[in-house]
């Protein structure tokens, strides 16, 4: 018996093919979560290179760093990549990893569906990038899609988009859409059915609530997108005329299909960002989240209102005054629950003892930047202002403020916060702070100044511009910011690698946190919890650490 035990513990690291096989065939939510995140990080670098190419081209008027054809492919690929193969896998990956741990479950409700969903998403990314080779059927390779990330009809019709690049774009979104819907169903089932004893809906961590609403939005939003992709395929190959304006189809219908996906998609991405902030800010302020019930209600309100605002992307397409007015109101209404969230985070920090470790630095950056993103969002909700600013660089600056300044900042925070749990090693704090400051400077150089050329009449998606429009200096500053952002991201990537091999051991609970995942080992065992925990409040570890003053007395 004893010899057998010794043999088991001394098993040498298994050969690489075997370990690879384990990762490829895994149905463990933690491994799938890591796969999602690693996959997204690779595409983050790719999408960043595409953005850099665009910014080099736009550094001065009439530049000829790339051809117009190449530039148009770059912004199409950058947008599609960053939304579908960076942001989506990141939020789904974190959700996958964290939700079962935070509700005291051993895995997701449907582990095989989970693996299937990840691989469908992975396939989508491969489809998209295969277009570089296969867009023209290998002959004269180099034909990635160039229709823009929202691919307005009829530019996607066979007439205007010959070859297969648009097909790869369509297949890519269809495939990753199936993956996203699969994971959304899985998250909902997991959250509704797998919570540990004592964890009523009202005692779930906010992260779990936000993921629940996010998953609901994914199902509602990605389904019409997938339907539209199928219709586009029918148009292109089976003689359909949904969007084929030359045969009486409607370009406007595509816009509706796309934006009924496209706007809720913003909330699909931003709710997980709120989720990270709602976990990290309390822990580093050393206070319970302020107004938990209102935070949950605000989330649900954002979910509902978020489904009724899509046509604010279409203020310039010639809707009636009545329709425009309605979408102004619904869009502005979103500002109310979002404002509540900002104020509640602020109140959470009020009277706290804030520790500025790297995760909290990124959350603080997020609060300031999300405030500005929200305010410029309100200016764009005013339809007449949108008639001027819509499709200009002001819009580009606004949504990057949301996605980079808001969402990406909290995702970085989440990386630094949960890295010790996932790897068992602490992320290096000095490198983390260097990453923060570099990225903060780069972000503001790029996206603060990007608003101005928009106000001065510079439309988006132009590969070059005329001198003498007052745009030159702003474009130069915007491009310079990229250098700092790129340096920040490289420090980040370096930190992840360095800390994995050299970081100091984290222990189970390095941040003195309160949610269940910090009660198990780092990294958690395959089964998460040897004994399924029982909880009595929203902060079970607070109760453990303060038996004299437990939360359940006040909730």
């Amino acid at each position: 018996m004893s010899t057998k035990t010794i043999v088991l513990t001394e098993v040498p690291a298994r050969p690489f093919p075997l370990r690879l096989h384990e990762w490829v065939t895994t149905v463990d939510h933690k491994r799938l979560g890591i796969l999602y995140v690693l996959y997204a990080l690779v595409f983050l670098l790719v999408g960043g290179v595409e953005a850099t190419i665009m910014r080099v081209q736009l550094i001065r008027p009439h530049n000829d760093f790339v051809s117009p054809q190449a530039f148009n492919r770059m912004f199409t690929m950058h947008g599609t990549t960053m939304i579908f193969f960076v942001a989506m896998p990141l939020v789904l990956g974190f959700g996958n990893y964290l939700v079962p741990l935070m509700i005291g479950a051993r895995d997701m409700a449907f582990p095989r569906l989970n693996a299937f969903s990840f691989w469908m998403t992975a396939l989508g990314g491969l489809f998209l990038y295969f277009s570089f080779l296969g867009g023209d059927g290998l002959y004269g390779a180099g034909s990635a899609p160039d229709v823009g990330w929202f691919a307005y009809a009829p530019l996607t019709a066979k007439t205007f988009s010959v070859g297969h690049s648009t097909d790869f774009w369509t297949l890519s979104l269809l495939s990753s859409g199936i993956g996203s819907i699969g994971t959304a169903i899985n998250l909902i089932a997991t959250i509704l059915c797998m919570r540990c004893p004592g964890m009523t809906l009202g005692k779930m961590p906010l992260l779990v609530w936000l993921n629940l609403v996010m998953a609901g939005l994914v199902i509602l939003a990605v389904s019409p997108l997938s339907a539209a992709q199928l219709m586009l395929l029918v148009d292109r190959y089976l003689g359909g005329h949904f969007f084929d304006t030359q045969a009486g189809g409607s370009a406007v219908i595509w816009m509706h299909f796309f934006w009924i996906f496209g706007h809720p998609e913003v909330y699909v991405l931003v709710l997980p960002a709120f989720a990270f902030a709602s976990e990290i800010i309390p822990v580093f302020s050393r206070k319970a989240i302020f107004g938990y019930p209102v935070m949950v209600l605000a989330t649900i309100a954002i979910g509902f209102i978020g489904m009724s605002v899509w046509a604010h992307h279409m203020f310039t397409v010639g809707m009636s005054a009545g329709a425009n007015t309605f979408f102004v109101l619904s869009t502005m209404a979103i500002a109310v629950p979002t404002g509540i969230k900002i104020f509640n985070w602020l109140a959470t920090m009020w009277g706290g003892k804030i520790r500025y470790a790297t995760p909290m630095l990124f959350c603080a950056g997020f609060l300031f930047q999300f405030l500005i993103a929200g305010l410029t969002g309100v200016t764009l909700a005013v339809a007449p202002l949108d008639w001027q600013l819509g499709n200009s660089y002001y819009v580009v600056a606004h949504f990057h403020y949301v996605i980079v300044g808001g969402i990406l900042f909290t995702i970085f925070a989440a990386f630094y916060y949960w890295y010790p749990k996932v790897t068992g090693k602490m992320c290096d704090e000095t490198l983390g702070k260097l990453h923060f400051w570099l990225f903060l400077i780069g972000f503001h150089l790029t996206f603060d100044f990007m608003h101005i050329p928009g106000i001065l009449g510079m439309p988006r998606r132009i590969y070059t511009y005329e001198p003498g429009r007052g745009w030159d200096i702003w474009n130069l500053i915007v491009s310079v910011g990229v250098i700092f952002q790129a340096a920040g991201v490289l420090v980040f990537a370096g930190n992840l690698l360095w800390s994995y091999f050299r970081g100091r051991n984290a222990g189970n609970d390095p941040w003195d946190a309160w949610t269940l995942e910090w009660s198990t080992s780092s990294p958690p065992a395959a089964y998460n919890y040897a004994v399924i925990p029982t909880v009595r409040s929203r902060r079970p570890l607070w109760d453990l650490k303060h038996p004299d003053d437990p939360d359940w007395r006040y909730e």
């Binding site: 117009p68 160039d146 302020f290 310039t316 920090m349 007449p384 008639w387």
Partner: protein, 314 residues
């Protein structure tokens, strides 16, 4: 000063948007100052001052009164902004068309603009001429926006907001410029490879100037039967271009009847000089790579002849 600055309006729609934007921006600035100050205060004031102090601060779980306050105040602000927006939307979109209004049908083509003054029987391209509008006797210009191919968007910031040109979906927009001069803009909806060089030029003329321009545009092209004209009419040029009064009746490209009355070629991408015109005919990709005009593979002699012919089209 940027010639495409939305904060320098010269017509009613642009001015009402400008007025509204001041109100909206002032409100946003106010909110920004208040919330930013609060955030900055909290971030600095409540930082953990001593590393050794591991005691936890007082736990506060919420406060209905405070939360109600920061729900109700934003609701009121949103209502005010909404009402202000609704008024401007209605005033621009539902405004009546006065008797003196000029009608122009604008058709977006991949990378150029076609203008048809239906009541004046004029067809031209890329450079829109409109009369200045006297507030006492307004003569606004109403555009009907069509597209021959993909989506485009008409945006001249100093005259008004943008409106898209969408196939099978006619749109309307209007402006009543108070100042004469040249107003610039460009296509604001991605329409394909050369979206960037689909530039807009609107010339606001004094009434007499405009009438003179109309009269000149209504003349037929002079028909001199030069060598260049023969080459033009016997090559594929005529498949795409119209020169009224000749056998050239194509509609895929811009009408060239009065080409020399325009200051630019290639939808504003180049000045209409002898050298640029010749280069454009010889090799369009040198000016606008990816434009729909093909290089015809003409000999230098033929290019010279055609350039000379086009230069007679005044």
């Amino acid at each position: 000063m940027s010639p495409t600055n939305m904060f320098a309006p010269v017509s009613t729609p642009a001015e009402s948007i400008f007025g509204l934007s001041l109100f909206v921006l002032a409100t946003m600035a106010m909110i920004f100052v208040v919330v930013f100050a609060l955030l900055a205060y909290v971030v600095i004031r409540f930082r953990n001052k001593s590393r050794d102090d591991r005691s936890e601060p007082a736990q506060v779980y919420g406060s209905t009164q405070v939360e109600l306050a920061w729900t109700v105040i934003p609701v009121l602000i949103v209502l005010a902004l909404f009402l202000a927006s609704a008024r401007v939307i209605a005033s621009i979109q539902n405004s009546a068309r006065p008797a003196g209004a000029l009608e122009v049908v604008v058709t977006g083509h991949q990378y150029w603009w076609e203008y048809r003054y239906t009541s004046l029987n004029i067809v031209t391209a890329n450079e829109l001429h409109v009369p200045v509008s006297d507030p006492a006797h307004p003569t606004p210009t109403f555009l009907t926006l069509l597209s021959a191919d993909t989506d485009h968007s008409f945006w001249v910031p100093r005259l008004g907001g943008k409106t898209d040109l969408i196939p099978n979906h006619p749109n309307q927009m209007w402006f009543d410029p108070r100042e004469t001069g040249l107003f610039l803009g460009q296509c604001a909806q991605y329409c394909g490879t050369q979206h960037a060089k689909m530039l807009l030029r609107v010339y606001v003329d004094r009434r007499e100037e405009f009438d003179r321009w109309v009269h000149q545009q209504q003349q037929p092209a002079q028909n001199g039967s030069t060598p260049g004209q023969r080459i033009f009419e016997t090559t594929a040029c005529v498949n795409c271009h119209t020169i009224s009064g000749t056998t050239a009746t194509g509609r895929f490209g811009p009408d060239l009847t009065h080409l020399m009355s325009r200051e630019t070629i290639a939808a504003g991408a180049a000045a209409n000089t002898h050298e640029m015109l010749r280069l454009w005919i010889k090799n369009p990709d040198a000016i606008k790579p990816g434009s729909k005009m093909p290089a015809m593979g003409l000999s230098d002699r033929d290019v010279d002849a055609i350039t000379a012919y086009l230069e007679t089209l005044r």
